[in-house]
Amino acid sequence: MDQNLNTLNDLDDVDTSPPYAPLAMPRQILERDRREGVIGALLRLLTARNA
């Protein structure tokens, strides 16, 4: 996540960095555990409303 600003004369004299105001972003889960198998996946899909 390194976001060094490359140093070139044209932008050197100006602070162009966006404000530092961090916000948490929890990584989302999109893949099911392969160990649960096809039947497990189907059951979870059918009961997805409660997932």
């Binding site: 976001q3 916000l23 972003m25 999109l30 997805a48």
Partner: protein, 590 residues
């Protein structure tokens, strides 16, 4: 974990969905019945089974497109929201770029900055660069430097360049949200070729302020700046047909709407809590970074309980498109891989049923061309495998009975399929003439001519795109990663030799198909000419459609009366400096 109830479709949305799905299924069943009847009459063989199955799925797809346009054409539009608050929430306009034409991107930003200021809205702009090429980076920094200078009479423009480009565009935005998202309530996400009126940006902010349950509001960007036959036909189609299709989509998707990756406003909190995309296990094309991230982000927002809406009636939202068929096919290859990658995501836990359906729809959009190709090949195989004609099926028969391929059913099927293809265009044209919408397209006569020309052009291009898409699907399914080539906008005119290099294999395939069919029998030859002739002429068509088109044809409203931000952008680009947006000049004079 999700602590909000997922958005539920209301009764009206459910009725639209049921009507569209019903029409689609009915069309699919009718086409299948006609095909089966015709095949039975000639002796039902194994290849006929394949043909019948394939015609079912291909007709479903055509009918679904027609249904979407019919739903969009239905009367009873939702009124535009009134009594909106003043747009004053902290908002950032994000401009992710990667090896783009920096001069043009900076000119667009300058035009938008002036337009937003003129609309009395205060926002920040952030240029999020993923550019890695050294020379391009120098040009980019030079182009954006004047805009980043602190000036009390200007809006703030930030610029940062990532040295590690993890996650591509979605990762670029995520990186910004992680580091600076806490400073903003909303983010307007743009593409390098996006343009938006300041009034539009203010309207989007106000809409989000007024509806705290909306996570994302998508506009329908109109294509601008096209000059070639291909580009202008696309531009016309996007202006003339797309609003109707998008209204159909709006009615059917309800609160589980689409995200097209740009020209949309998002609630930063919603994006942060629900849209940090994981890397998929395994290697590309199915593993690794998620390519078509926008569809996934829309589904994840809905999963987290946020409404995702599209409003095609919002004006002042623009983008540019590819100017020739080769550039279009290159972009399509990337989208194909991205959509097929959704096979891995369609079963993700907790998604709404409609989100899953949208994924299936996106996958089908690339699989169906393969089905069409399969149907054509199966038809040829069925002809070869057909039993020899029996002229005297009954004993002691005096007169011969000539074989009947049930021409009537086949013709009915062909009319039905062509009808499904033309129905949206004819319906939209008729509605536009009735409502005088054609005025913006140069009047009823000129609009009709444009629709006819666009229909002819898209019919000629369709077999070529069928070949490109079939190749793309086969490549992805066989594990070939197409990467993420930058979209080349305005790369313009192609020579015949460039057309031959890009589509020589399509010409040869078309010629081979024609020879095989001619050798098999003349019955099928006539039916396959509309497919094989454009294939043979593919290099010529590619080169010819990349040439400039006359301005009288494919006229779009933004050519007759260009939006101020478009005019400002062209002026800024023409002067070669991003500082010289006209609105700013006027402000200085005043």
């Amino acid at each position: 974990m999700r602590d909000r109830a997922r958005p539920r479709a209301d009764l009206r949305t459910a009725v639209w969905r049921a009507a569209a799905l019903g029409f689609t299924l009915l069309s699919g069943v009718a086409a299948t019945a006609l095909m089966a009847e015709a095949a039975f009459a000639a002796g039902f063989g194994a290849w006929d089974v394949v043909c019948v199955v394939l015609i079912f799925f291909t007709t479903l797809w055509l009918a679904w497109g027609a249904a979407q346009s019919l739903v969009g054409l239905a009367p009873g539009r939702r009124p535009a929201p009134t009594d909106l608050p003043h747009p004053d929430a902290p908002t950032v306009i994000l401009l992710p770029i990667c090896n783009e034409d920096a001069r043009a991107a900076a000119a667009r930003l300058a035009a938008m900055e002036a337009s937003v200021r003129a609309a009395g809205v205060t926002v920040d702009f952030a240029v999020l660069s993923d550019t890695r090429d050294g020379d391009a980076l120098i040009l980019e920094r030079q182009a954006f430097a004047p805009l980043c200078a602190h000036r009390p009479d200007r809006l703030r423009v930030y610029y940062r360049n990532r040295t590690e480009n993890w996650g591509r565009k979605a990762g670029n935005i995520e990186d910004f949200i992680r580091n600076s998202g806490g400073a903003y309530e909303f983010a307007v996400i743009l593409d390098a070729d996006s343009l938006m009126e300041g009034e539009t940006i203010g309207h989007l902010i106000a809409r989000m302020q007024a509806a705290p349950d909306i996570g994302l509001l998508q506009t329908l960007p109109k294509i601008i700046g096209a000059t070639s036959w291909f580009g202008r036909a696309m531009q016309f189609a996007a202006s003339f047909y797309s609003p109707v299709f998008a209204r159909g989509l709006q009615r059917m998707q309800g609160p589980t709407g689409p995200f097209w990756g740009h020209n949309a406003i998002v609630r930063v909190k919603a994006l942060a809590e629900s849209c940090a995309l994981p890397e998929l296990s395994g290697r590309p094309p199915f593993g690794g970074s998620i390519l078509s991230h926008d569809y996934v982000e829309a589904a994840l927002l809905a999963r987290a309980g946020w409404r995702v809406e599209v409003d095609p009636a919002i004006p002042g939202s623009f983008e540019e498109g590819p100017d020739n068929l080769v550039a279009y096919a290159r972009r399509d290859r990337r989208w194909c891989q991205g959509n097929l990658q959704h096979l891995r995501i369609v079963g993700a836990p907790g998604l709404t049923a409609w989100s899953r359906f949208v994924f299936v729809q996106g996958i089908a959009s690339y699989i169906v061309p393969l089905f069409w190709a399969g149907f054509l090949l199966s038809s040829m195989a069925a002809l070869v495998a057909a039993p020899p004609p029996d002229y005297f099926p009954e004993p002691y028969q005096l007169f011969p009975v000539f074989p009947d391929r049930n021409t009537r059913e086949i013709v009915a099927l062909a009319i039905g399929i062509v009808g499904l293809l033309l129905l949206p265009k004819v319906g939209i044209l008729a509605a536009a003439i009735a409502s005088d919408r054609t005025k913006g397209f140069g009047g009823a006569a000129r609009t009709t001519a444009s629709v006819l020309a666009e229909t002819l052009l898209s019919s000629l291009i369709a077999p070529i795109m069928l070949m490109y898409q079939s190749r793309a699907v086969i490549e992805v399914l066989s594990g070939k990663d197409g990467g993420w080539p930058a979209t080349m906008r305005g790369e313009g005119r192609l020579s015949l030799s460039e057309g031959r290099a890009a589509a020589g294999w399509i010409s040869l395939s078309g010629l081979a198909a024609l020879c095989v069919v001619a050798w098999l029998g003349r019955d099928l030859l006539f039916w396959l000419l509309p497919v094989t002739l454009p294939m043979i002429a593919a290099p010529l068509l590619i080169a010819a459609t990349s040439r400039p088109a006359p301005r009288g044809l494919f006229t779009a409203p933004d050519e007759i009366a260009p939006s101020p931000v478009i005019a400002a952008y062209r002026t800024a680009l023409g002067t070669g400096t991003a500082q010289a947006a006209p609105a700013e000049k006027e402000a200085r004079v005043a």
